[in-house]
């Protein structure tokens, strides 16, 4: 079920990436990054209700949820956040300069419109 969700998220992400509007493009990127996070998370195996908390008494560690992908995904989420905001700012800036939202009009590097 979750695998299908990954597929759907990727589909949506790719579709949005291929749009000409940059706002949609950014949404697409966020979808893609969510999908990837989920992919990494799922592929490590799902364990419900057993978070990886240990103390001196814990012995049977292999039954707990795998903390490694969690740590990786956590990092990925935060970086994804940073990237999304950065692109957003970039988009805003170029919109200010060029006055268009259309990617196809960004072909020229010259300042002429």
């Amino acid at each position: 079920m979750l695998s299908i969700l990954v597929g759907v998220l990727y589909t949506a992400g790719v579709y949005m990436l291929l749009r000409r509007s940059i706002l949609k493009f950014i949404i697409g990127i966020i979808f893609m990054s969510n999908a990837t996070n989920l992919l990494v998370f799922i592929s490590a195996g799902l364990v419900a209700g057993k978070p990886a908390f240990v103390n001196g008494a814990t012995t049977n560690v292999s039954q707990l949820a795998d903390p490694m992908p969690q740590a990786l995904v956590l990092t990925a989420i935060v970086i994804g956040l940073g990237m999304a905001v950065f692109i957003l700012a970039l988009k805003y800036k170029y919109f200010e300069v060029t006055g268009t939202d259309d990617l196809d009009q960004l072909k020229q590097t010259d300042s002429q419109k």
Binding site: P51, F53, L74, V78, G82, V85, L88, A89, Y92
Partner: protein, 141 residues
């Protein structure tokens, strides 16, 4: 967004959020929480005030610049990686010692924790800077 309720609520909720974020930071090593989460929370608490009033107000009221937060955070991170080099001869190896604390068995303090605090401040700075930048001047009521 000139909601009176929001403005008054923000006064209290904001401080709650800040305190909460510090708690989350501190307990991060043993329970859910940590530098990232705490930092995001604290950052959002400031954002909350920005929403309730205006970011300009927030900007003028804040004594510390967001850039300084980032600087402080990175500095702490930077400091935290060195003891491992000198004491245990491996980069970033954790060094722990116990701070005696009344009524408890003592609070364990270590360079990874310092590291986490560094992350905390960095994230606050980043969040607030994002916010300031994006809401930069005009048309934000």
């Amino acid at each position: 967004m000139n909601s009176i309720i929001l403005q008054i609520a923000s006064k209290y909720v904001r401080w709650l959020l800040v305190i909460f974020s510090v708690i989350i930071l501190l307990r991060g090593h043993n329970a859910p929480g940590g530098g990232f989460i705490g930092g995001l929370l604290a950052g959002l608490s400031l954002a909350y005030k920005g929403f309730a009033f205006t970011p300009e107000l927030l900007k003028t009221e804040m004594k510390v610049k967001p850039e300084s937060f980032m600087g402080l955070g990175l500095m702490l991170i930077f400091i935290s990686v060195w003891p491992g080099v000198f004491i245990k001869s491996a980069f970033m190896e954790g060094i722990w010692f116990t701070i005696p604390f009344p009524f408890t068995e003592g609070y364990k303090f270590g360079t990874p924790f310092l590291f986490d605090i560094g992350v905390f401040f960095t994230v606050i700075g980043v969040t607030v800077l994002f916010l300031f930048s994006l809401s930069n001047n005009k048309s934000w009521k």
